[in-house]
Every structure is written in structure tokens, then in C-alpha cells.
């Protein structure tokens, strides 16, 4: 295989084309730093991809060693995969976006692992494995397999096939360590002795490890996990690039690995949790639902749509705080409509976006953008927090832990987590289905504040009621 991809002759020219493709990836990602140019960025990156794939076909034809069966198999595979990907991408609901990204991580990591497995199988059947090739092959197989199974579990959790609660069983952690030891041990064995069965053990142990790694992680941490698995896939692809000495794979994989790691860190920081803490798990079990000094016997004030509408219609500044409850109820369009009516009525409306609102970094922005909320109205946490004291009404829709003032005090599950200072608004309306707890399993002290009113309803239904009530007021 390396004979055809070495950096000389015809293959050398193809490598140059791959460099062009890689450059387009970088330019494309660079254009993604502003919403105004982001679409062009994606198109530039896609152009790079098309160039790389076309160059590969040219290389395949030039090599002239692809059998008829080989062509049929490759083309059929690529077309079937593309069809499935296209269908999934066009039909997925924006709320289910994280699952899809996770699924793409799975197949990307799986493909990367397969490239190395094939390379190893091929090299071994023709005699001998190069030392360096073996190191990268083993890393590729390890990371690729872990990503494959881990991403499937993550997607399953988000989709609800597997319970969102952390799944912890006795000896689970021990099994995890054992799997890691077996995978690494067999991998190390491969450095000295070429052995296909040992490679198979690496694959199986890594797959097991991926499952065991994600199972104990709670649903609230899934955004971080997906981001991490995205970085893993990138790294696996880069390793595959080393295996077949292909610059396009190395550069693209490294780009994704680096960007994914940074995104993961940003996410973890936003939740004030270390990555180690998330991976080790235990958060969001719901078992630790202890009211931490919250006024247990305190009464919450309940409110109906008409009263809430009056508050909103006569406010001069309203901040809407959307959370996952909004996404789950598919209420983003209703919220956008309400926001627009208020805006047209002369109320200053903005949306406070917590970094972990939704199920992926920036997920809430996508959901609101889908509902045609202009992006300048979406304000990030650090910018919006000073605004709350001069806000008449803060409308909290399906957000819980990110508004809990308990985070400012030490000694509980969410201590130190950056929150939206919703409690500083003059008046607060919380739309929520029940008094149920958020992922942290904590009582939200915000609900017991004297200036807080609770509007108990499904977010979508609440939006319909509120919108019609506001309409009659402003008409």
C-alpha cells in the first residue's frame, strides 16, 4: 500500500492536491468564526473534500490495480453510505442533531479503524509489519474502536434507546480498567510480534472499553462527551493518515483533533467541571437529590397565562432564558413568535444563552436560529448577566440548573458552575412542567424567590397560551 502513496512520482502530485484540499479545510474552518461567513466556510471545506475524493479516484485509476470486484465494492459502499448519510442529514430534527453528530463520529471512527485493520491485515499477509506503521496502526485501531462503540452508546443515550441516567454497576470500573489493560497490552505485544489474533483482541477490548466509558456518564454531560469523541475521531483519522502515509488524512485529522479538544475544554469549563471528573462519572445520577438548605416548606407562587402575559406586555425589557425543556417540547418556534410579538410591541427582547443550554455546545443557538430568531438577539452568558438587574421580566423556559443561585455557594453538586443571574431580574416567570429536578437532582432555589412566579405547563402549550394572551393585550 505504501508503495502507491509514497511521496514520489505520480503519487507525489496527488499528495500536492491533498495539500490543496487540506488548505481549503483550514480556510473553511477559519470562515466559520462569524455567522456571516460560516456558510461559505462550509462550502469551501466541502470543495476541499470533493477535490480530495476526485484526486483519490484519479490515483486509483492510475494505479490500475483495482479489480472489477474492487471497484464495485468501493463504489457501492461509498454510494450506499452517502445515501444513508444524505437521508439522515436531511430528515433529522434540529433537536436530534447531537445524536446525528454522534452517529457520524461512530462511523468516522469505525472507518478509520478499518483502514488500519486492513493495512495491518494486508502487510501481515504479504509478510512483516514495519515498526512505525505498527505503532500508528495500533493507535488508530484503539482510538477508532473506542470512538465507534462509545459514540453509538452516546447516540443511544441521547435518542432514549438507553437510559440517560448514568449506568453504574458493581465492578464496572474494574472491568473498564481490565479492558484498557488488555487493549494496551495486546497493542504493545503487536509492536514486537505481528499477530492478527492480537489485533482482533485490541479491537474487541477497545470496543468494550468505549461502551464502558460512556455508559456511566450522565445525560447532562453528553455535550462534552460528544465533543470529546469528535476529537477522538479526528485523532484516529490522523493516525490512519500515518498508516497509509496520506497527508490529507493527517492534516484533516489533526485539525479535527485539535479543534475538538478545544471545544471539549470550553464545554467542560462552562460547566465548571474537569474532564476527568466527567469521565469518572457519577454526576447527574438523581440519587443525590437532597434539598441543600432550600426552604423545603416554602411555597412557590403559581401563575396563569393571562397574568404572565400582562407582565410581559407591559415590560420594557424582557430576557428569555431557554433551556433543554424548550428543545424537548419543540417550543422554539412558539418562543420565537412570542418574542417577535413583544418586540413589535416595543419591548426590548433578548435571549440569554448559557453555554450548555441544549445538548451540544451552542445547540440552543441552532434551535432558535431554526425558529428564525435573528442571531444578534442571542446573547451569551457573560454579556447578558449584567443586564438582568435592569430587566423587568426574565422568562425562564425549561431551564433549571443553569439558573439555580445555589451554584454561587460552595457545598453542593453545582457549586461554582457559572449560572445566568436570572434571580436579579425584577420579576421572574418560570415555565416548567412540574417541580421536578434538573440533571443535578437539586431543588432550584430560584423557584422559591418572592419575585418568582411558576407557570406550570408544557413549554409548547405555554407558548401558545402566552402568545394568544399577549396578542389580545397588544391588539
Amino acid at each position: 500500500m505504501t508503495g502507491f502513496t509514497a511521496h514520489v512520482g505520480f503519487a507525489g502530485w496527488i499528495q500536492l492536491v491533498y495539500v490543496l484540499a487540506a488548505a481549503l479545510f483550514v480556510v473553511g474552518l477559519h470562515l466559520m468564526n462569524s455567522p456571516a461567513t460560516a456558510r461559505r466556510g462550509n462550502q469551501v471545506a466541502m470543495t476541499g473534500m470533493i477535490i480530495a475524493v476526485v484526486a483519490t479516484f484519479v490515483l486509483l485509476i492510475h494505479a490500475g490495480t483495482v479489480t472489477t470486484t474492487g471497484w464495485i465494492v468501493l463504489l457501492a459502499g461509498a454510494l450506499i453510505g452517502s445515501g444513508v448519510g444524505l437521508y439522515a442529514a436531511q430528515t433529522v430534527k434540529m433537536t436530534a442533531m447531537p445524536q446525528l453528530v454522534s452517529a457520524f463520529n461512530a462511523v468516522g471512527g469505525g472507518a478509520a479503524a478499518l483502514v488500519a485493520i486492513y493495512g495491518y491485515y494486508q502487510a501481515e499477509s504479504t509478510g512483516g509489519v514495519l515498526g512505525t506503521t505498527s505503532v500508528f496502526s495500533v493507535l488508530d485501531v484503539l482510538i477508532g474502536s473506542v470512538t465507534f462503540s462509545g459514540s453509538i452508546i452516546a447516540a443511544g443515550k441521547l435518542q432514549g434507546f438507553i437510559g440517560g441516567q448514568p449506568i453504574i454497576f458493581k465492578g464496572g470500573r474494574l472491568l473498564n480498567i481490565a479492558l484498557a489493560v488488555v487493549a494496551l497490552g495486546s497493542g504493545a505485544y503487536l509492536f514486537t510480534t505481528p499477530s492478527l489474533p492480537a489485533l482482533l483482541i485490541v479491537v474487541l477490548a477497545s470496543l468494550g472499553f468505549g461502551v464502558m466509558m460512556v455508559l456511566p456518564i450522565g445525560g447532562a454531560d453528553m455535550p462534552v462527551v460528544i465533543s470529546l469523541l469528535n476529537a477522538f475521531t479526528g485523532t484516529a483519522v490522523a493516525m490512519a493518515g500515518f498508516v497509509i502515509q496520506n497527508w490529507a488524512l493527517i492534516v484533516a485529522g489533526a485539525l479535527v483533533g485539535a479543534s475538538g479538544s478545544i471545544l471539549t475544554k470550553l464545554m467542560a469549563d462552562a460547566m465548571n467541571r474537569s474532564l476527568a471528573n466527567i469521565i469518572i462519572g457519577g454526576f447527574g445520577t438523581g440519587d443525590s437529590a437532597v434539598a441543600i438548605g432550600g426552604p423545603v416548606d416554602a411555597q412557590v407562587r403559581s401563575i396563569q397565562a393571562d397574568d404572565a402575559a400582562i407582565q410581559l406586555a407591559y415590560a420594557s425589557k424582557v430576557i428569555i432564558v431557554p433551556g433543554y425543556g424548550l428543545a424537548a417540547a419543540q417550543a422554539q418556534h412558539g418562543v420565537a413568535e412570542l418574542g417577535k410579538i413583544l418586540e413589535d410591541h416595543g419591548v426590548e427582547v433578548s435571549y440569554a444563552i448559557h453555554p450548555v443550554a441544549g445538548r451540544m455546545p451552542g445547540h440552543m443557538n441552532v434551535l432558535l436560529a431554526e425558529a428564525n430568531v435573528p442571531y444578534p438577539q442571542l446573547v451569551e452568558m457573560d454579556e447578558v448577566n449584567p443586564e438582568f438587574p435592569r430587566t423587568d421580566v426574565a422568562l425562564v423556559i425549561g431551564a433549571n440548573d443553569v439558573t439555580n443561585p445555589a451554584a454561587r455557594r460552595p457545598g453542593n453538586e453545582i457549586s461554582g458552575m457559572p449560572i445566568l443571574d436570572v434571580d436579579k431580574a425584577k420579576s421572574i416567570i418560570v415555565i416548567k412542567r412540574s417541580m421536578g429536578h434538573g440533571y443535578a437532582g437539586l431543588e432550584n432555589e430560584l423557584y422559591f424567590e418572592p419575585n418568582t412566579s411558576m407557570f406550570f405547563a408544557d413549554a409548547k402549550k405555554a407558548m401558545t397560551e402566552l402568545t394568544s394572551a399577549v396578542k389580545t393585550l397588544v391588539a
Binding site: H7, A22, F25, V26, L29, M32, N33, S34, P35, A38, N42, Q43, A45, M49, L60, G77, A78, I80, G81, G85, L86, A89, Q90, V92, M97, V101, F104, V107, G108, G110, A111, A112, V115, I117, S227, N230, G234, V237, A240, F242, I244, Q245, N246, V251, A252, G253, A254, V256, A258, S259, I262, L263, P355, M360, P361, G362, A369, E370, Y375, E380
Partner: protein, 122 residues
């Protein structure tokens, strides 16, 4: 250490640094599309899957190549389409309702634009 490996490693390290540099400036608003875009970019593994064909002359080789091609194909096409779909929704101002109905034909939209169909509305 061979010269080829050294070149590969150099490229790898530089690409890592570029990745860090390019991503550091992206606002939180775009984090999900960004993740989706990088998700599509790792679909470049399709190139690796296709290259299997050069040496695959056995059943095992064909099977591995086929599965890798299916996986990578889904990754790359799905990744770009879904990113495009997401980014299309980011607008500075609320759009005309007509635009929305056109958006229903996602795949055909670009083609329609190119040949001038439906241009009157957009």
C-alpha cells in the same frame, strides 16, 4: 526514523497548531455548526477507505473496504449536508415566509438557484 515519517510528523504537529489557532476565535453561537463541520471534515477518511481498493484482492479485503466505504461515505455526505442545513438558519433578520417554503427543497435549492428556477422569490 525515515524521512517520510519525519515529514508526516511535522505536518501533523503543524496541523494541530493550526487547528488550535483557527478554532480559538469561533464564538459560542457557532459551536454546534463548527462541531458539525469538523465532523464532516473527518469524513476525509473516505480517501483512506477508497485507497484500500489498490491492494484489496481477497474477500476479506473487499469486505473491509466495503464497510469502510459505507461508513466514511455516510460521515462525509451527511456531515456536510447537516452543517449546511444548520448554517442556512443563521440570519441577521427574520426572513420572508416565501424563503422558508423554498428551504423545504434542501438538496434541490442550490440547483434551482443555478438554473434560475424560483429565483423570483429569493
Amino acid at each position: 526514523m525515515s524521512a517520510a515519517l519525519l515529514t508526516d510528523l511535522t505536518i501533523f504537529v503543524l496541523a494541530l497548531l493550526v487547528g488550535i489557532e483557527v478554532i480559538g476565535k469561533v464564538p459560542a453561537t457557532l459551536h454546534t455548526p463548527l462541531m458539525s463541520a469538523t465532523n464532516a471534515i473527518h469524513g476525509i477518511v473516505l480517501v483512506g477507505a477508497l485507497l484500500i481498493g489498490i491492494t484489496a484482492h481477497t474477500t476479506v479485503g473487499y469486505i473491509l473496504g466495503f464497510v469502510a466505504a459505507v461508513f466514511a461515505g455516510a460521515n462525509v455526505v451527511g456531515g456536510y449536508v447537516v452543517t449546511g442545513r444548520m448554517l442556512k438558519m443563521f440570519r441577521k433578520k427574520a426572513p420572508q415566509p416565501e424563503l422558508e417554503s423554498l428551504d423545504g427543497h434542501k438538496g434541490l435549492r442550490g440547483l434551482a438557484d443555478r438554473v434560475g428556477v424560483g429565483r423570483g422569490q429569493s
